[in-house]
Subunit: 340 residues, 2 copies
């Protein structure tokens, strides 16, 4: 596999991204194309004592970088930006998969415009893995503010194939985010989506999911629109920080509580690790015609290494081919009540 | 003040509700009307050694109870249900405020139908206090799946008055729940609401709020539709349970970690208390023409006592009169760009 990495984007770019590529290089047989400003890449590698002249590592120059807070739509015109160049390489088949820790909106928009969607799939979604006891794929976690019931059904199909093939979860349970468990809860779109999910034999639908049970192994994939998904994603992040902060206050109270902290440190470290999104290797942009993985903006080298691993598995397992095949069979059936 | 309490509804009804009324009775000069099946009330009081023949306590019989999972709309026809009878007493002026820990939908629907909304306010919202370091009022937390920009502006006005008068927060900061901080984020309704909130001089608008910063003292009131609000509310609950469960696992690992747990127990207890929604006295149904407080379904006696205290302050501080006055001045101004 040849993996394309945008090394200029992300909070810790380029140093941690480049370091992550080197770790992945040493631990796998993959080849790599790293995209970015060659001067900056050379400087970073030199600083970190990394030799760019190893086999299986190619550098492609991109003079521009779209920053995290810049307009995502600018990816269209900024043809020299690392995201744009990397996506173009992917589209042209120069690599098998792409990883970027950059501006989510720009990566998503660029992927739709440059790489394009899988034919038959009307929306692509960002599929983030939430770090609960049993990981939950949140799809869509932010790309599409407005969705139709058909979009939600397509998310469920794509998510199921990814969770099965890449994450190794057989017959993954699909839940629909709603404000109650009853079939008639939520907007008309959600009620219609419920019927579609229930009737589709390729989906292991477990019903509506209320957020209070979400952390407790109720589903493997949570289907929702990008606005609600964004709330779930951001609140999960916010709570994680909030609780760790509160806990620190409790432990730092006095010398005796500090001793107590030392005793439970390994357990808390494991807890923090369990709750570390970087363990799960980034979010695939499901519905895009080639494998694109969005690594978390705050990714360090380890997170990038994991995202590269996920990108390679995504490409190796032919997930996209399987989704495309599905679009030719299941999705083209007219959806009506007489089907069932 | 005379407070009406539906003692039949809630997970711990009637025992904990009745006990809560007795605590409130002993700690205040308020009078109480408790509504429910007299036989059940007598039995519960006897069992708990509580004397119903104390001054300032009246019992009104209601033979029926709407259970937590029953259809909220049934409140309309079930005239003998405790929620219906209690709301009717409130409407007729037999009491100054009402507390129920029952079926949220039934209480809300009943309040709109029986007590009615404040003239000029098109929707009533459920205003739940989220137990962060600095408490945040979440409005609407579940009643209205679909809202307009005007509804959101009205929520902000009502919430501001309540937080100021009842919670004692001067010039409370109002945030709008969105998937980004920029003005042009979210649906058209949210973008229009942003403009309204920004222009309204009675609202201390601090902009769009992303959920990752929500626990960190970014606003006093978070304005949103009931669907998104429900996600925030339920995820907050779910996350609280999840975190405490994980922490228990860390501490129960072996005898030494158990000692560690004992050392930090007071700190953790305080933390749990800080994160206890029952401390904040329940959720007012803002926009209803008389004070109605929804106590949490799992309320114990302490939570009911706190909800009664909140109900009394809600009534004493003339919040509803002030909201009504606002409807006559601010809300009747035509809203157009030339105003500003």
């Amino acid at each position: 596999m040849k993996i394309i990495i945008d090394v200029m984007s992300g909070d810790n770019a380029p140093d941690e991204i480049i370091k992550g590529v080197f770790i992945a290089h040493s631990e796998s047989n993959h080849e790599f194309i790293i995209v970015g400003n060659t001067d900056v890449i050379n400087e970073s590698a030199q600083k970190q004592g990394l030799d760019l002249n190893i086999g299986g590592l190619e550098i492609v120059h991109a003079s521009d970088v779209i920053k995290m807070d810049e307009d995502p739509l600018s990816v269209k015109s900024r043809r020299d930006s690392s995201i744009h160049v990397a996506l173009k390489l992917l589209k042209e088949g120069k690599g098998d998969a792409l990883v970027s820790a950059g501006n989510t909106g720009a990566l998503y928009t660029g992927a739709v415009l440059i790489v394009s969607r899988i034919p038959g799939f009307r929306k692509a979604g960002i599929a983030t893995i939430l770090p609960f006891d049993v990981p939950v794929m949140l799809l869509d976690s932010g790309a599409n503010i407005v969705v139709t019931d058909e979009n939600l059904e397509q998310f469920a199909l794509m998510g199921s194939i990814y969770m099965c093939k890449v994450m190794g979860i057989k017959n993954p349970r699909v839940g629909l985010l709603n404000n109650g468990t009853e079939k008639n809860k939520g907007s008309q779109i959600l009620q219609d989506a419920y019927v579609r999910l229930e009737e589709n034999k390729n989906i292991n639908f477990v019903g509506n999911i209320e957020c209070k049970v979400l952390p407790f192994n109720t589903c493997d994939i949570l289907i929702t629109d990008g606005f609600s998904g964004n709330i779930v994603l951001k609140l999960t992040e916010g709570f994680g920080s909030f609780f760790m902060q509160k806990l620190k206050t409790v432990f730092k109270k006095n010398p005796i509580t500090k001793v107590s902290a030392a005793i439970v440190k390994p357990g808390l470290k494991q807890f923090k690790k369990d709750f570390d999104a970087s363990e799960y290797g980034g979010a695939p942009l499901l519905g895009i015609a080639k494998p694109v993985i969005k690594a978390h903006g705050s990714s360090d080298a380890k997170a990038i290494k994991n995202a590269i691993r996920a990108a390679a598995v995504y490409a190796e397992t032919n997930v996209i081919k399987e989704i495309s095949a599905l679009s030719e069979t299941v999705m083209k059936q007219p959806h009506c009540d007489s089907d069932s």
